[in-house]
């Protein structure tokens, strides 16, 4: 008796199952058609941040002097690829700085951050929160000049810390957004980790080159 009941439920659900398969197919088609374009939009947005995050006297032509750098890092034993963008000076050789792409878990979901650093990753020149869906009115304030501006000129020798009060002028602390400490800490962790990884990469190419890298 229960077998026929089970079969009956499946039969009754045939419409739901058919719709699910059809919609799945339709969405796959939409994804195939639009994904390249969406990736291009994201890339343009990333590139448009470079002049803001990597300080350069000649902002106008900076976009033409950007090289994508792909390197691997060890994340818990797994080799993972990372992307950074190298901004070159007019002569096409001297490095002005880099823009790193990093992501991590926020309070709600993944947060993507662009981080500008100087040529030796000793100082942060700016950050931009590229993607987030934190709580509107609270966590989503991480995407604001007020919060992002706190990272400018922070030194990377030590980790940046999040505190709840106004930080002293030359400390390496930033102030958390009121009632959004988790989102604030998440961004801070993402920045610290990304800079560490990138510094390791810079050290490794130093070792490979043997010679000192020009500033």
């Amino acid at each position: 008796m229960s077998d026929t009941k089970k079969a009956n439920y499946l039969v009754q659900a045939w419409l739901v199952l058919t719709l699910a398969v059809s919609f799945g197919g339709a969405l796959a088609g939409v994804h195939l058609a639009l994904n390249e374009g969406i990736k291009r939009n994201k890339k343009n947005e990333t590139y448009s941040q470079i002049p803001k995050l990597v300080p350069d006297p000649d902002k106008k032509r900076l976009k033409d002097r950007v090289e994508e750098v792909v390197f691997t890092v060890d994340v818990g034993g797994v080799a993972t690829e990372r992307t950074a963008y190298k901004a070159l000076a007019d002569d096409g050789k001297a490095v002005i700085g880099y823009m790193l792409r990093a992501s991590g878990m926020g309070y709600v979901d993944k947060i993507e951050v662009l981080i500008g650093v100087d040529a030796r990753a000793t100082k942060i020149t700016g950050i931009y929160v590229l993607a987030q869906i934190e709580t509107p009115g609270l966590g989503n304030k991480i995407r604001s000049e007020d919060f992002e501006g706190q990272f400018v000129n922070k030194l990377t020798a030590k980790d940046i810390e999040v505190i709840k009060t106004a930080p002293k002028s030359d400390s390496n602390d930033i102030q958390a957004i009121t009632s959004a400490t988790i989102s604030s800490k998440a961004v801070c962790d993402i920045v610290n980790n990304a800079v560490r990884e990138f510094q390791k990469y810079l050290d490794s190419i130093d070792q490979n080159n043997g010679a000192r890298v020009k500033e």
């Binding site: 419409l15 919609f23 339709a26 969405l27 994804h31 969406i38 869906i133």
Partner: protein, 209 residues
């Protein structure tokens, strides 16, 4: 069949004002509060909702004879979710900046009560033509509701309309209007106004009858 319900024309006209989704049915108030800080975001939301509503209504109407009563809500939600995902991807492709500004509110169209209500009340019971014109009428009504709140909030709160400066530069922008409290205040006052106008019209048609 005389007892089929309102005609297509009636459904369309009702959706505009008499059965306005926001002012009369009090549905879909979440986007009405959230994305009406400016006309651009409000109208983009209205467009996305219109697309989903029309597609969902048409599809639901086409399969209305296949729906089982105890699985119909599931089917509605499945249909709506599929179309919202399509709308979200198209928006990310064609209007990337707007899609970032609207953020999580586009996926939240899935739980917008206007759409599932129209599926339940109209599309699952009437023909495709009636369902489609119901969807168009309700979409325009929703857009009108969003526009009424958004224009007040943008003009008073930012001095602009669709991003163009309309208030003189001496106008002190009422910052509260572009923040959530301003949304609640604006919607509440406009709802009160709509109810008041409705009451006056009822009195008029009552005495003239």
């Amino acid at each position: 069949m005389p007892s089929d319900g309102p005609t297509a024309g009636e459904r369309f006209v009702r959706g505009l004002i008499p059965e306005n989704p926001v002012y009369r049915q009090l549905l879909g108030m979440c986007p009405t509060l959230a994305v009406t800080g400016g006309m651009k975001t409000a109208m983009t939301m209205a467009g996305a909702v219109a697309f989903v509503l029309i597609c969902a209504n048409v599809l639901t109407s086409l399969i209305r004879n296949l729906l089982k009563p105890h699985l119909r809500i599931l089917v509605f939600t499945l249909t709506i979710a599929a179309f919202v995902t399509i709308a979200d991807r198209v928006l990310a492709y064609a209007m990337y900046d707007m899609s970032k500004e609207l953020g999580p509110y586009i996926p939240l169209i899935i739980v917008n009560c206007v759409i599932i209500c129209r599926c339940e009340v109209c599309a699952s019971k009437q023909s495709v033509l009636v369902a489609a014109s119901d969807a168009v009428g309700q979409s325009i009504g929703f857009a009108l509701a969003l526009a009424s709140v958004a224009s007040l909030r943008e003009i008073l709160g930012a001095g602009t309309f669709f991003g163009l400066q309309v208030m003189p530069s001496a106008w002190p922008n009422w910052g509260i209007m572009v923040m959530p409290p301003g949304a609640f205040l604006t919607l509440g006052l406009l709802l009160g106004l709509a109810n008041w106008i409705g009451a006056i019209r009822e009195k008029k048609s009552g005495t003239s009858a």
